[in-house]
Symmetry: C3
Subunit: 331 residues, 3 copies
């Protein structure tokens, strides 16, 4: 595995905005090796033995937290779980001071999820200013980025196309639709970065309240000829190779951005009928947790001919092992 | 240990209703071996190395959750703890989808506690329908079953009678009283299954609101000549070899099923005085946590001549190691 | 490491009131060895392999709980985390019964934090009465004691003065100020014990509501010539070698013991300006979590020339490893 890491230079994983094609391919490549580890009998490697991974989740999470925890365990790291409800947060400590405490205890990698955009970046900058060796991993910050989710989506897609040698160029020219609450989705933001970098054509579909025309300005203009915004579902699905649908936060209703879940499902929910407009071997992704009958019909979600949702979760462990391994073996 | 497992076929442990005498004996036997492991210096075996045990407790629990966690650790498994308050449950995911997520992450055994009867069975059926290899362990579901509790009770009783070779036939003809809120107790239900299967005579005692006459119909008629229902304590205790008292849920008062804790204690609480009707070497069991002065007097609970409560907890780790080992080494 | 432990006899660590100079030095000495372990590549020793450390925190805590957890992991112990919110506490079990449950499960060391003074001592006495081998570690009880905090403070101070050979006598004659809510601080109580035992001169400074004159009577009279009480900050700081400032519980305002945080900071908050009265190479300690701008200014807290706050946290892991090792290898 040593050969794949020689060119890795990122100390922190905060955003995919600055990921290079080589970096994407290194992650995909390394994840293949770890998928093999996960399929072996022992399922463990001593790659991070003695290192401490602090799981700092300031927002509730099942799958992402557990996925990082399992990835760290299978790399033989020691894990510290930070549980906000029973923590010093109730005592008024700043997040930066909490991070410094874990640093002083010996944390080597901090995996941070926070409801405010920018918190992981702030901590990473402060850690660098203090010349510490610690790495910060953004596990989802506000509306900003969720890089490991987009990388596991990328791994799921590229592995489907070439299991032995997944690489970003496999997606060149593919049509990929992203459907749902684009405006408030860190998953969408990270996926837009990686998919545009791969050469895919990215079609976004959502009601105008969740996808304002101005959204295109958040994407570098060099990509504008491959980015398309739709306020209706059908043109986004037409001949699509892959469809990613996003979780709908029920709070959006209270914000008057949506009339009802039922109307949303009628207009933007994925069903067998709807995806008949797509390429015949289209595959569906969803970052989970799913609101069945809202973003996607129960029948379609459970149809193994189309759904990649389980594969995404499985990819998550391998991809997070790869990322922790790469940032944990720097220098 | 390999010889004891060759005949084990149960993939899931949901209920004791269908346990065979051979299966009971296999569990008791295997637990003896693990008791030896727990008394050794290293206290660990690599039996489940690389396997993932997901502890999914949708209801609060100290002892059962910790007991399973410790059992899994001592078998060298990796453990994922699911904490409902900080989980996707708040995001509206179905329990089945949560289970599928842990499956996709690589869980081999899911230990599930839920306040609704039938949840573990539902998940097990779905996992089988999907042809997954995952095993489901019911750690207590609603009013239905709590198989590991009854098996550790069985191990505690049989080990007392023959520490080297505990077997279910040792209880044949013994008089065992179960006292308390039978109607609402999954512990009672599982114990009634195992004790009747062993050939013991089972005497139930409770106020009529907590033990309706119809309760007997829930037990196969082949056992009716060894099952006795009492609405007073004394006849149940008379010449009893063992007395199991059950935890009283204080909510029962609010349901108008009981007048007061004090009256309950006066009528059904165990005391030194009361158990003088029993066999002289009678032993008392309680699944915990105990309401001191309600189900049992503080003095009796702390009297090592009678109380097996600590031994039950100790048995719990060995029995759960045995069960996890057996279902984790199938096929 | 074996040579340092031959004379260790304490089974429980409840309070520093009865610590001998030899015991302090044994802890300091052993912690040096573990600091080396923490600086090594593997960071782990098998010293407590097979032993179970139960982390029983009945009060919220980030740093102390994580520090004990990491210390135990690096000694290769198995850890059981007791989470009060999801535990049997909601079911009315007594704390003593919870402790006995963990004992019966196989816990060798229980690390206990509780909001009531005396809980760890009570449990230790009960465990001894029952002739169990279990050790109780007080991780902070009410207003009483927080021995591991004072020992890590001691290690931080003595290591600064002689990193290779920290010993209590290095503090002889030093002037050490403790500033803040002395009356309600278990950290202060434990530190007063260790610092007076070392031969240091201890100057306490607080508003009279938080440091009544009678407080001196809680300290053995043999130390009175080295203990000084001040109701103003300046005389305590004058020529001080070290200043420990304590966390201010914001609840004190509601108790009418303090007018406002702002006034408190003006009178007792540490700033660069204030500490100009101290010895020029004065160092500042704080047990954390810090209320920035209350006990200490943000600028001073972040100034590495003065602040030992990070070193304290780092010392914590080594000192707790030392203590767990010493009580885990008794007899």
């Amino acid at each position: 595995m040593s050969s794949t890491t020689t060119n890795w230079v990122k100390k922190h994983v905060i955003s995919l905005e600055d990921f290079t094609p080589t970096e994407y391919d290194t992650v995909l490549n390394t994840a293949v090796s770890f998928k093999d580890v996960l399929n072996s009998r022992t399922k463990k490697v001593p790659a991070l033995q003695g290192q401490v991974v602090a799981n700092m989740f300031f927002e509730p999470s099942t799958r992402t937290r557990s996925s990082f925890e399992l990835a760290a365990k299978r790399l033989s790291a020691d894990i510290l779980n930070f549980a906000p409800s029973t923590s010093s947060l109730t005592k008024g400590e700043t997040i930066l001071d909490t991070a410094k405490t874990y640093l002083a205890m010996g944390a080597n990698i901090m995996v941070i999820r926070h409801s405010h955009s920018g918190v992981p970046l702030n901590i990473a900058q402060e850690m660098d200013r203090l010349k510490t060796g610690v790495s910060i991993f953004n596990a989802g910050d506000g509306l900003h980025q969720h890089p490991s989710q987009a990388l596991l989506d990328l791994f799921t897609l590229c592995s489907l196309l070439d299991p032995k040698n997944p690489r970003i160029s496999l997606l060149e020219g593919k049509k990929i639709a992203i459907v749902g609450d684009i405006l408030h989705s860190r998953v969408a933001r990270s996926n837009i970065n990686s998919l545009l970098a791969s050469g895919a054509r990215v079609h976004l579909a959502a009601p105008p309240t969740l996808l304002p025309q101005l959204f295109a300005d958040t994407v570098p203009s060099v990509y504008h000829d491959r980015l398309f915004l739709h306020w209706h579902l059908t043109p986004a699905l037409e001949d699509a190779d892959f469809v990613m649908t996003l979780r709908l936060q029920k709070e959006r209703m209270a914000d008057y951005l949506l009339p009802s879940l039922r109307e949303y499902h009628q207009l933007f929910g994925l069903t067998h009928d709807r995806i008949s407009h797509c390429n015949t071997d289209v595959k569906i992704l969803h970052p989970g947790p799913v609101n069945r009958g809202v973003e996607i019909s129960s029948e379609l979600m459970d149809d193994p001919r189309f759904s990649l949702i389980s594969q995404q979760v499985t990819s998550g462990v391998a991809v997070r092992m790869a990322l922790l391994y790469l940032i944990g073996n720097l220098k």
